[in-house]
């Protein structure tokens, strides 16, 4: 099946799900499962076929207008497989949540439409088509997010996405101007290394930053991810944010970096320097890591916490991509996979808890592990990966990123990278401790139960994949090497089981099996010793106080208060900046209204005529 047909079929399925949804809410949601599974399998089949060296022309266009051209590249396949997989897994949650929306049929349709948009972005080679699908995804998301908790989040999402879209549009115009064609590859190649290339890089970076939620364009992301409907948060965080990473690759890898510092400073020292543009993006990425981490530590809403962790992980992706080279790029691409899987699984686990309790606030939850042990294990595996601890996928990517950072001697960036890495232990542990562990609160005791099988299935598949990416990363790294060959970067050196970095070898399978041996020994020690007597959770040491309520024994509010106190004065700087900007825009609007749109229509008409005349002047 060609890409064109796949996209058209997906759109049709979207409409089908809408009408099914009008007929019956749950059936409509089941259509989303069928549609996204179908798309995932088709993309997987396509990838498999192309890797086998098939000559089938997937790019053929028959029904769409002639300018809509497609090119199936390795990079496109890489992203498409990942993102469609996340869509397919998350879609299993839709039937269970669809009751709660005001417009369930619309939700189903837009869910599939955003999937179609994503396919278009990754597979087209025409810049305007890319822009169209990019906007298509933004618009679909715009109408889904208000179905959750907050309408304001959608406005913020739209504002920042628009900034990104306009930046993309201007970049497209510049490339069209230089190359004379809307072809993506020709456009990028023609501006690479020129002055226009610098502008294109800046504009594409703005677009990537706004999509990825990187500093300073990050404020929309926590609001949108935290308030979106429960099944859409994992899609936003695991899939749609990756559009930003895709654009970032176009900007940072496809375009030659600018600002040669090596020739300026190289004579003073033996150390080597990167290009100025690489440093600039890496520093912004590093700031994203630190901001995301500090904000995640102080959240009370588990979904917001995970959203800030997405911000922080977006920073890692940016740092890795900006450093580039085979290790950096491989680390960035692997981190995209690792984070997509881990954050989807974590959001799904929290979603499953919120479904039965009606809240995702950590201060209102506790002891969910006793009724939802499998959900707990899913969350545990996801956060181990997110914190970059072996034997999960996140460790491989973080290891590669560390290698790249150290190999280039980026000291200050390393401070941020290490800080984010240790900080992630702090914040991912909070939902674990406050939401799943601790005292079992009586108000949720009766409601909580093991989720239905079709909710557990995607979570378990995701968990298994997270472990797989951490234990046997080399198959995926081999595919990443194909992607990097297409991008013109040297391949990462991998053996059958080992990964060769610039200053060390990693054997993930060995690490995992040794860990397994360790756990086995500990288990044997545990099992041969005398069996323990089970006591209740309230039967604990309280230093002589008599406490009978579970809430008082559950430490979950302001968990990291001592460290939060150190920086809570500074957290609103960016928000305040955007507030002020908003006020300025409103003021400017009032001024325009005062001067041009007065009560007298003739004045308005006069100005309209003058402005139209002015705009037409250039062409005359």
């Amino acid at each position: 099946m060609t890409v064109e047909l796949l996209i058209i079929l997906t759109l049709v399925l979207g409409l089908v799900s809408y009408f099914m949804g009008r007929f019956n809410k749950v059936y409509g949601a089941v259509v989303t499962i069928i549609a996204s599974m179908f798309v995932f399998i088709s993309v997987g089949y396509m990838a498999n076929d192309i890797l086998d060296g098939s000559t089938f022309n997937y790019n053929a266009v028959k029904y769409l207008p002639v300018f809509a051209t497609f090119t199936v590249s390795y990079l496109g396949i890489f992203f498409a497989i990942l993102v469609t997989f996340v869509f397919a897994m998350v879609s299993f949650f839709n039937p269970f949540f669809v009751e709660k929306y005001k417009y369930p049929a619309v939700y189903n349709m837009l869910y599939i439409f955003s999937l179609a948009g994503v396919l278009g972005v990754f597979f087209t080679d025409n810049l305007m088509v890319l822009f169209f699908f990019f906007e298509f995804v933004v618009w679909s998301g715009l109408f889904i997010i208000p179905l959750g908790k907050s309408k304001k989040a959608a406005v913020s999402y739209y504002a920042f996405s628009t900034a990104g879209s306009f930046a993309l549009l201007y970049a497209i115009f510049i490339m069209r101007d230089v190359a004379g064609t809307y072809n993506l590859y020709a456009g990028l190649a023609s501006v690479s290394g020129t002055t226009q290339g610098t502008y294109v890089m800046i504009l594409l970076s703005i677009s990537a930053f706004s999509k990825l939620g990187a500093f300073p364009l990050h404020t929309w992301l926590p609001a949108a991810h935290g308030n979106a409907p429960h099944p859409f948060s994992p899609v936003l965080s695991g899939a749609l944010v990756k559009l930003g990473a895709f654009v970032a690759i176009l900007a940072l890898v496809k375009l030659a970096p600018v600002g040669d510092l090596q020739s300026v400073f190289g004579s003073y020292t033996d150390a080597t320097f990167l290009y100025a543009s690489q440093y600039a993006v890496a520093i912004l990425g590093a700031m994203t890591i630190v901001f995301g981490t500090l904000m995640a530590i102080r959240q009370d809403d588990a979904k917001k916490l995970l959203a800030y962790s997405s911000v922080s992980n977006g920073g890692y992706i940016l740092v890795a991509l900006s450093i580039g080279g085979s290790v950096g790029l491989a680390g960035g691409l692997y981190h995209i996979i690792a984070h997509a899987l881990a954050s989807a699984a974590a959001f799904l686990a929290i979603g499953a808890v919120s479904r039965v309790t009606g809240t995702s606030k950590m201060s209102e939850l506790g002891g969910m592990i006793h009724k939802m042990p499998i959900t707990y294990m899913v969350y545990l595996i996801a956060i181990i990966s997110m914190a970059g601890i072996p034997p999960m996928g996140g460790f491989i990517s973080k290891w590669l990123i560390f290698q790249a950072v150290i190999d280039n001697g980026l000291i200050l960036i390393a401070v941020a990278v290490f800080f984010g890495s240790i900080g992630s232990f702090l914040y991912v542990f909070r939902p674990l401790a406050a939401l799943f562990l601790g005292q079992e609160l009586p108000q949720h005791k009766d409601k909580a139960k093991i989720p239905p099988f079709f909710m557990l299935l995607p979570m378990i598949i995701l968990s298994l994949l997270i472990v797989y990416t951490g234990v046997f990363p080399n198959y995926i790294l081999g595919f990443i090497n194909d992607v990097m060959a297409e991008l013109g970067v040297d391949a990462l050196v991998i053996g059958k089981y080992t990964i060769q970095g610039p200053n060390g070898v990693l054997h993930p399978t060995l690490v995992a099996s040794v860990f397994g041996v360790g756990v086995l020994i500990a288990f044997i020690i545990f099992i041969v010793l005398k069996k323990s007597r089970k006591v209740g959770l309230m039967d604990t040491y309280t230093a002589g106080n008599f406490i009978y309520t579970e809430e008082l024994m559950h430490y979950s509010l302001d968990f990291y208060a001592p460290i939060e106190r150190l920086y809570e004065k500074y957290i609103n700087i960016t928000e305040d900046f955007y507030k002020k900007l908003e006020n300025k825009v409103v003021d400017f609007g009032r001024m325009v209204k005062y001067f041009f749109f007065t009560n007298k229509p003739e004045v308005t008409v006069f100005w309209i005529v003058v402005i139209i005349g002015f705009l037409l002047w250039g062409d005359l």
């Binding site: 290490f418 674990l432 500990a522």
Partner: protein, 305 residues
């Protein structure tokens, strides 16, 4: 396959060696600290007695996560210790003693313990875990920056190779001398890692009832004691291999190990206890500034003694 099994057996041997070594040295140190405080102190094998007594006792459990966390903690730490080289040529898995494995695999053990402690449902344990994680955020970053400097200078992150490079002399002295500022930072960070005073905030006896450990008894506590001893073995050995030129033979390793651990204990016994926010502020002030300065000097100016 047989090779692999032998290597794994050797790894278990390393972990066992580490446990025995550290537990004995900890016992000797209890005596030394006792003398500093004008006491006699217990016998040197007291730590062994404590652990075996605990393992033999019948205890209580607060649910499956309470036990599972303990198993994961001890298992993660044993797994980490299996990678540790003892001398620069004696190790279970030659070529895979990558620095990052130690830093991150040790975290599995920490996570297991934190999980188990939170699973006990005692708020004092949660406070202890919070403090432990916060302390980790404090000491880890300056330490990692110093190690970054070493890896960048030598081009390897293998502990045994770093040891051999330092022993060969030539370009690199022992890094505690070659990078003096970094050496100071590493010692301070090591005190944080081991939870020695003034960074003892997360155990904080008499303040938060021993923090994470408050609910444990019997075999769970015994296993956590074993875990603690092996953790100390890993952390002190890291310091020996990274900064004190590794070890040519096992005797040198034991001497260096004993010297480092005893020196830290003696230093520790003259300090009070910092509050947790003071710990964070402290580490993000002087040690971090020193570490970054050292990194700039060494990497960009090439000044290495």
């Amino acid at each position: 396959m047989v090779d692999m099994l032998l290597m794994i057996l050797a790894g278990v041997g390393v972990a066992l060696f580490g446990f025995v070594l550290q537990t004995s040295i900890a016992g000797v140190n209890r005596k030394i600290v006792g003398r500093i405080q004008k006491r006699y102190g217990p016998k040197w094998y007291q730590e062994f007695l404590d652990i075996f007594k605990l393992l033999s006792k019948r205890s209580v459990t607060h649910g499956w996560i309470f036990d599972f966390g303990v198993i994961m903690a001890l298992g993660g730490i044993i797994g980490t210790a299996m990678f540790m080289p003892i001398t620069s040529s004696l190790m279970a898995f030659p070529g895979y003693d990558n620095f990052f494995i130690f830093v991150y695999l040790i975290a599995v053990g920490m996570l297991g313990m934190a999980m188990s402690a939170s699973g006990s449902g005692n708020p004092l344990a949660s406070i202890g875990v919070m403090r432990a994680l916060t302390t980790m955020l404090a000491y880890e970053v300056p330490f990692m920056i110093v190690v970054l400097t070493i890896i960048k200078l030598t081009g390897t992150s293998s502990l045994s190779e770093l040891g051999i490079l330092q022993q060969a002399g030539g370009d690199f002295n022992w890094f505690v001398i070659a990078l003096p500022l970094g050496g100071i930072v590493a010692v301070i960070s090591l005190m944080g890692m081991l939870g020695k005073k003034p960074f003892v905030t997360y155990i904080a006896p008499a303040e938060i009832a021993s923090g994470p450990m408050v609910e444990y008894g019997g075999k769970q506590l015994g296993m956590l004691f074993i875990m603690h001893e092996i953790t100390v073995f890993i952390e002190v050995s890291l310091f020996v291999h990274l900064f004190l030129g590794g070890a040519e033979n096992i005797l040198f390793f034991i001497i260096k190990y004993f010297a480092v651990y005893t020196a830290l204990n003696i230093m520790s016994s003259v300090y009070g206890r910092l509050k947790i926010d003071q710990v964070v502020l402290f580490f993000y002030k002087w040690p971090l500034i020193l570490a970054v300065t050292q990194a700039f000097i060494a990497i960009y100016l090439g000044w290495v003694i």
